[in-house]
């Protein structure tokens, strides 16, 4: 029994040595593959490796770590010129990728989401993976360990305060860049319009289209009225949100309708007006399409906002088929 166990243990050791030797032999290939995969994900798009090679890139990085750990114990590794050259390359690439990652991420923050990709076709966030590959390769290599572990003077010289201060300065710089990008538009508007009126400021914040439309409604709809408004959802995120819209139109009451039907009894709910709203946004949801109301309304008069931001009064009923697909804004005074 003991002999069998000894035999099995010997076989396992032999197997491990063979794996170690194999890892050492093909390590440059594994390293190059991991680096190519990580750079590919950053330059093309995240997920490209999985799509075309059917391999999750995380597995590639895992194999790299395993190969690093196995090959560093191989006796040939210590004397290898290739491993020394590889470590120098890793250090240089670490510096390059680190610099690229930090500067491109901050460039993105200062502009807008996807800015760097639109200009340089690089996903800045994905640059952390090539950085990770070169750093982990260096750190786990025999050379990397020797440099850190055997040079205790280096460790003594690196005071913890310096590390903390460096990290702290990085966080502070990151925060300041974040705040700058946040306030840039506001400060710019404030400097251009130091004496702006309430209307101009609100128009800037809630969009001129919506704000002017609510001003139009307030001018043409009496305060004691009840207004039927579009259903809640894109393309009517503002005009269809009763709680939001009431802020601008109070004391007028607002009630949500449905897309193809009023959804409310005009008499029972004492509805006086119906909005005509094309839609504030290009996007839609719940299969809604632009233009509302999509049903006929018996009207005393219809007041449209024309292109010249003037109003145009029309007598007669609102017939949806006659105005279908026309980008119209206005209000209908219903016949009582």
């Amino acid at each position: 029994m003991q002999n069998i166990q000894k035999y099995n243990k010997t076989n396992l050791l032999v197997l491990l040595k063979q794996v170690r030797s194999l890892c050492y032999s093909i390590f440059p290939l594994i390293w190059a593959s991991a680096l190519l995969v990580s750079i590919g994900e950053a330059l093309l798009y995240p997920g490209v490796t999985k799509k075309y090679l059917l391999i999750n890139p995380l597995w590639v990085y895992f194999i790299l770590i395993a190969a690093c750990l196995f090959s560093k114990y191989d006796p040939k590794y210590k004397k290898s010129v290739l491993s020394e050259k590889l470590n120098k390359i890793n250090l240089s690439l670490a510096f390059l990728f680190g610099l690229l990652y930090l500067s491109l991420m901050n460039l993105e923050k200062l502009n807008y989401s996807n800015f760097v990709f639109s200009k340089l076709h690089v996903h800045p966030a994905e640059l952390k993976w090539p950085l990770f590959v070169v750093l982990i390769s260096y750190a786990l290599s025999r050379r990397g360990f020797h440099t850190i572990v055997n040079n205790k003077n280096i460790i003594k010289k690196i005071r913890p305060e310096m590390i903390i201060i460096t990290l702290a300065l990085m966080v502070s710089a990151d925060n300041l860049i974040g705040i700058s990008s946040m306030i840039e538009k506001d400060i710019s508007f404030m400097l251009s319009n130091p004496l702006a009126s309430y209307d101009l400021k609100m128009s800037e914040k809630v969009t001129p289209l919506f704000y002017e439309y609510t001003s139009f409604i307030k001018t043409n709809v009496p305060e004691e009225s009840t207004i039927l408004i579009p259903p809640q959802g894109y393309p009517w995120p503002q005009t269809g949100n009763s709680a939001y819209l009431r802020y601008f139109l109070y004391p007028r009451k607002v009630l949500n309708g449905e897309e193809y039907l009023p959804g409310a009894n005009y008499t029972k709910n004492d509805i006086d007006y119906v909005l005509i709203a094309w839609g504030e946004t290009i996007g839609t949801e719940y299969d809604y399409t632009h233009g509302w109301p999509k049903f006929d309304v018996a009207a005393e008069e219809i007041i449209y906002i024309t292109n010249e931001k003037d109003k145009d009064k029309v007598m007669g009923n609102y017939v949806y088929e006659a105005v279908k697909d026309k980008e119209l804004w206005g209000v209908i005074k219903i016949t009582k």
């Binding site: 305060e161 990290l167 702290a168 966080v171 502070s172 506001d186 404030m190 609100m202």
Partner: protein
């Protein structure tokens, strides 16, 4: 003019009230506390008296404040509490700072100035403020009541009234833009944070981490919009920090202060369950001390503030909205057995939408926790770490329970992010505490 006078009265009331609870607080910290305590308690009193039929007007608010000031001064006199308002010579203190400390102070002041400028310029414009908080404020300012008119409006009575009543104070006093009150919350937060951190670290660390706090983009963003998240964060974090001080200093004054502040966080936002952390920690502390006194000190102050709104909600919407109703329904969900798939989904959701947005701060927090646990001689820090961990667990449990009751739970990541903003200041404080104690020596000179 009336707006300024009313807020001076509010701050003065807060000042003497905080002196009543805890004497000898540093000036800047006391100033920060004055505003948040004064405003929180004033708006709560306004809710009470309007509920019983007294109309909210400028006159009634001023009478309330004067009454509270006289009452608190009388109690202070009776208990022989000193009301000290020693304003230090800030310019003189500033001159004694090191050059880099001066630069950081200037940076902090610049950030506050920009926040004030943006708040003074732009009116209330963000979505929820227009749909609810500011709309309610205007209705209350116009009618003088809340409970009596709430049924006339949809989407009106669900959320507590702190921010709405703050706006109302500004409107009835003749003001047109209440946003400066959010700048004041932000400023108060910075002052209290500095004061509490300064107790355990040197000036450099305290000033620097206060800078990290006020320059956090998420917090800065909340300081220039009229949402409830910043006031909630300020109340909850300051309450938690005082809870931490209460435990490590064995101080009932801090415990009472903590209960009031965490209570006021529920007066700002009532749906978040994080107030449970305070009760859990105080219970554990009571068990540790083998004394019922801590929990008896904590609970009344907290419940007096939290319960009235819950009573209103349960009267308006039914028993499911009361504290017992909510605990009961949450318990049923949690005791019905956890689904492993849902657990993994919730963990993934929290990681993607909340933890990742914390950026490198979470990573530094983990490093600080590692250093802290390794240096086990600073047991006090582990109390704060425990509080943060309990909050993280509650975040998970709360999100899990929400995912069971709401089909579209994944569709509001922005709301989940805003709800979790308070983790950042707690982590920043913890990092400052651990690194300040581990690496830097605390100096004897003060800067208040």
């Amino acid at each position: 003019m009336f707006v300024l006078l009313t807020f001076i009265l509010i701050i003065y009331f807060g000042l003497i009230f905080s002196s009543l609870i805890k004497e000898g607080l540093p000036f800047l910290e006391k100033l920060g506390l004055s505003y948040i305590l004064g405003l929180g308690l004033t708006t709560l009193m306004m809710f009470f008296y309007s509920w019983i039929g007294v109309k909210i007007t400028l006159g009634s608010i001023v009478i309330l404040l004067l009454t509270l000031i006289v009452l608190v001064r009388y109690i202070c006199h009776f208990l022989k509490r000193k009301i000290e308002i020693k304003i230090p010579n800030m310019l003189k203190e500033f001159k004694f700072l090191k050059r880099y400390e001066k630069i950081i102070c200037v940076g902090i002041c610049l950030i506050f100035f920009i926040s004030l400028l943006i708040n003074a310029y732009y009116p209330v414009y963000v979505w929820d403020a227009l749909a609810l908080y500011d709309f309610r404020a205007k209705i209350i300012a116009q009618t003088g009541y809340f409970v009596q008119v709430a049924k006339q409006f949809d989407y009106f009575a669900h959320y507590p009234l702190l921010t709405s009543l703050t706006h109302t104070i500004v409107y009835v006093a003749g003001g047109s833009n209440p946003k400066f009150t959010y700048f004041l919350f932000y400023l108060s937060f910075g002052l209290i944070f500095y004061g509490v951190l300064r107790r355990h670290t040197n000036i450099s660390v305290a000033i620097f981490f206060t800078f990290v706090l006020v320059s956090t983009p998420t917090l800065f963003e909340q300081s220039v919009i009229a949402y409830t998240n910043l006031p909630y964060t300020v109340f909850y974090v300051t309450g938690t920090l005082y809870l931490y001080l209460a435990v490590i200093n064995k101080s009932n004054n801090y415990l009472l202060l903590s209960s009031l502040l965490i209570g006021l966080s529920t007066w700002t936002r009532a749906t978040e369950p994080f107030w449970l952390t305070g009760i859990v920690v105080v219970l554990l502390y009571s068990i540790y001390k083998k004394s019922i006194f801590p929990i008896l000190t904590y609970l009344p102050g907290f419940l007096i503030i939290q319960q009235p709104w819950k009573v209103h909600l349960s009267r308006f919407f039914g028993d499911t909205m009361s504290t017992s109703g909510q605990i009961s329904s949450a318990s049923k969900i949690l005791l019905s057995g956890a689904s492993l798939n849902r657990v993994i989904e919730v963990v993934g959701y929290i990681y993607q939408n909340i933890i990742l947005t914390w950026g490198p701060m979470f990573f530094f927090f983990l490093i600080a926790a590692f250093i802290d646990i390794k240096n086990r001689h600073k047991k006090g820090h582990l109390v704060l770490l425990l509080i943060i961990i309990v909050n993280l667990l509650l975040l998970f449990v709360g999100t899990y329970a929400f995912s069971i009751t709401n089909v579209e739970w994944k569709k509001i990541p922005g709301s989940a992010r805003r709800m979790s903003i308070f983790f950042l200041p707690l982590m920043i404080y913890y990092i400052g505490l651990v690194l300040g104690n581990t690496i830097f020596k605390r100096e004897q000179t003060e800067f208040y």
